[in-house]
Symmetry: C2
Subunit: 245 residues, 2 copies
Amino acid sequence: MKILLEIAYVGTAYHGFQVQNNAPSVQKTLQTALESFFGKKLLLSGCSRTDSGVHAKQFFCTVEGDLSESFPFHKLPIAASRFLPDDIAILSAKKVEDSFHVRYDVSYKEYEYLILNRVEKDPFLSARAFHYPRELDIDVMNQAASLLVGKHDFASFMAAGSKIVDSVRTVKSCSVEKNGDLVVVRVSADGFLYNMVRIICGTLIAVSEGKIQAEEIPEVIAACDRKRAGMTLPPDGLYLAKVVY
Amino acid sequence: MKILLEIAYVGTAYHGFQVQNNAPSVQKTLQTALESFFGKKLLLSGCSRTDSGVHAKQFFCTVEGDLSESFPFHKLPIAASRFLPDDIAILSAKKVEDSFHVRYDVSYKEYEYLILNRVEKDPFLSARAFHYPRELDIDVMNQAASLLVGKHDFASFMAAGSKIVDSVRTVKSCSVEKNGDLVVVRVSADGFLYNMVRIICGTLIAVSEGKIQAEEIPEVIAACDRKRAGMTLPPDGLYLAKVVY
């Protein structure tokens, strides 16, 4: 039987979702909790890898194993919560067809990158936002963001040394919004390259700083050269926000 | 010279603001950081005690010591930030008259109590909100809240064993607001008794549950008996939100 879990987690304590040797991962922590709860060995698969320190407001994984058909899976969020640490929560659970694939069946995903844009720190956003003290130019960032939308080879926005061969992705939307001291960059795409959102956000900041002009973005994309894009921002501000099947 | 600091802190790691024997406090941590920064012994006084685990979005303290008149104190939030842990931030700093008293000159304070009102946990609100899974009746809570406003003896809303003799306080406002899954109780008063906001919030939840009727609130106040009010909610959801001089 296959169960689809919707979860959320604060990524600060984990080296990403995926199981790592000798480092805590969300996958291993969740699997251990569910195996304790059900008293059975289980196979857990996630919709995405996330990097060390990256958060998820919405993340899906499937659980496969010899589970009872009669178990009220919709009650799992409460029933299993005592087995989980406070930085991981199950939001919903339901049976799915065995043919459902939690990773390949994703239609698109949306990431959010949170920037605290003021001089003073905010202790409530420590490890949960990137602190950028100078005033950001939201209009010019949005001009640049709109030029990233579409089907492109995003090799310029992929971590150097990444082994992915096909770096063509379709960015559905990319926008920047300011609410008080908080700036949120939202990027949705059919798939993401390694560090792609963090490099996009670093590039948008370079645009705000005048180091890259908004109208140069098509050239930065066309160059297929990591050195043409901006810096990779830290993981603290990054949230997987929405996964659509 | 006397400097007024506006600070904010996540209280989870501290046994309150006030210096404690053998337990970390915000006061001690801040004092150590500022003494390292200025290279001088300093006297630090806070606007309030806060309990273990309670947070502050806005908190004031004064720093007294042999400081240079020419120091640009408005730059202290950035300059001293490397000396502080990530869970405490200085928001502003300025010189004040020696006659200014950070505690006695307070006109009123406002606390917020945050309740996550849904079945599932939210990992981002762990230690930052009280998790209450059943649906709260906001209207009836607001009826009860409005009956707490005014100058009353709040002995029923004071931790048992508290040594305060005069338990008369003036509650300026008390209201409950719901935004999606989040319920915020806001209480402003000229002063607060030990655990007063946490007992008020426990009482409002008892009203939502029908264990206390909203119209009984005047009787609960008049009884001057801790046993008549609701339970003391945990510190996780409590924030000192505003301090007005």
